[in-house]
Subunit: 346 residues, 2 copies
């Protein structure tokens, strides 16, 4: 499918396109490009006919959303796709054929062996084998691997167990608004019928609503397993995971137990994480201060704390950590922009 | 300390006292005694001088809170203590000396070898050794062991890992109100300074605020470890646990991974839990319907679902489950009343 070899490097000032710029992730793509000073020459916003003509603010100016078509990518150097797997499957090959590098935020290509699945802090080297498309991982996989990669590189990870605390933003801007509105209705004592998510969200949590698959895990959990394995280059790593949506707006948390192939002390892990890219250590036992959504939201760094022995493993080879990251940033938009940045001239 | 041997059985219509009847658990003790038709002859509400004189509704009538004193228990057959460990340490021995059975909801006696720590569904037999006081467990330990006991009795549990999703009610009625008020302030865009809990609670979660102890676990987590071991009569069971407060009003959730000493299938576990006392199976993969606080709140049963192989353990000896229970009921008041019911004549 992706048989054309696009340039290994972007020009110093590339033309950028965003497919799906009005969703929760699209808005953060614009914010992140602006905040990081991505050296774009021109920015084109693309969407279905329904959204074409919408005005979007960017860097103090206003851009008009154009209708996505087969000719949209003719002058584009890098295209960010954030409009669902169906659209990515159709238009990513068209963009690549036109010479663009595609950074795809959907699940369309994440398990395609020809498409690197990349968290730059964890496996930037995997990008060298790309054939035009680089896939941006599931939000839980991206946030988890920022914290896990430095540990895995120093001490081989043998087994993982994750329980997640996932925010509304993973289901899009409409779910965030439903959480706000449903909560206000609850506080007012009013009835409220959820429409975006299948369960009441006000002061409630629920098992992630992705369909349950044959192994008893839901689609989100199976993505986490498959993608963490791929990013960490451990195709058979045993991973157990429970994905729960909690009433939080935009930061995901996860309690992770990690078994290594050798004893690792909390101090060794803390020293590695202290210097790890993309990680901010928030691990103040004295002050009882650890990673929280209020601190992670709007932050590029993934917060890591509660680093301690996993007392469920008497061998001394296991640690437990608690990780919180902004779902829209490191879980989506920021990671996508960081991927594109790897292709800019040094 | 507890050297007097109180009657092994209560009279058919015992006189009941509640120490601490105006807190979140106290209110649910009253509700639970009424809802279950506990055959009390007389009900006495006891509190510090500060709360004495308050009026409390019970079963359509009104009771006046009396000031707790050394003479409060002279005619009492069973006393529920729910006013903190300090008060329990002082007054439980006085109540026992006066001939009362004490059911203590504080942490004062939970690890005292002379005091049974009881979840009736799990270890009712342990009560036979009591010397006047029976301890009511920590809420997480109580809810978890309702689900774990039937599995443990059939297939020996070798290792546990829990990640909790804990409600405001665990920190009392004031924390529940702070969650409501803080959330309303957030939605209004107003500043809000938390006073009961150390962190913002609106659309936020945080590591349980009990002090971190020498092993890197907080006091809540160490209670869960010690109490689950005691209730399951496995004093050295390896247990890893992460306790997180989520913005929920009154139901605790927990993702639990369980390693057995032999392979156990999800079907075997489901069959056992289907018939287990105090458990309601909520495990509909087709409808993607699993335990949630909105369903568990106000319910006596502990909801159990997401029963599946723990893919983090390639041996096939591990299962993962998701459990939600009402923190004020099975996590506190209901379990206390159930303990007292065991002493009523058949």
């Amino acid at each position: 499918m992706l048989d054309q070899n696009p340039p290994a490097q972007l020009p110093a000032n590339p033309n950028v396109a965003i497919v799906g710029s009005t969703g929760a992730v699209g808005v953060e793509l614009l914010n992140t490009l602006a905040a990081r000073g991505f050296p774009l020459a021109n920015l084109k916003l693309l969407a279905s006919a329904r959204s074409a003509g919408k005005e979007v603010s960017f860097n103090g100016g206003t851009l008009i959303v154009e209708e996505l078509s087969e000719n949209s990518f003719d002058d584009v150097h890098v295209a960010f796709f954030s409009a669902g797997a169906t659209l990515s499957r159709k238009f990513a090959p068209i963009a690549v054929a036109a010479g663009a590098l595609v950074v795809d935020n959907s699940s369309a290509f994440r398990m395609d062996p020809d498409v690197p699945l990349v968290v730059p802090e964890a496996n930037a080297a995997a990008m060298s084998g790309h054939a035009g498309v680089v896939a941006n991982p599931n939000c839980v996989a991206a946030i988890a691997t920022v914290a896990l990669a430095p540990l895995h590189k120093a001490f081989n990870i043998q087994r993982l167990n994750l329980a997640t605390y996932q925010a509304a933003s993973g289901a899009g801007a409409a779910a965030m608004e439903e959480l706000r509105q449903g909560t206000q209705a609850y506080l007012n004592g009013d009835d409220f019928q959820p429409e975006v998510l299948p369960h009441p969200y006000a002061f409630n949590f629920f098992s992630h609503n992705a369909d349950i698959e044959d192994n008893g895990y839901n689609g989100e959990e199976n993505k986490v397993i498959a993608e963490v394995r791929r990013i960490m280059e451990r195709p058979a790593l045993p991973i157990g995971v429970t994905c729960i949506r909690v009433p939080i707006l935009r930061a995901h948390g996860m309690a992770i137990s990690i078994e290594f192939d050798q004893p690792v002390s909390p101090e060794q892990a803390r020293a590695l994480l202290q210097d790890a890219p993309g990680v901010k250590l928030v691990d103040d036992r004295e002050a009882n201060y650890f990673p929280m959504p209020v601190d992670a939201s709007g932050q590029e760094d993934v917060l890591v704390g509660r680093i301690r022995e996993d007392l469920g493993d008497p061998s001394g080879r296991s640690l437990s950590i608690f990780v919180v990251g902004d779902q829209l940033l490191k879980g989506a938009a920021l990671n996508a922009v960081q991927i594109a940045e790897q292709f800019l001239p040094a």
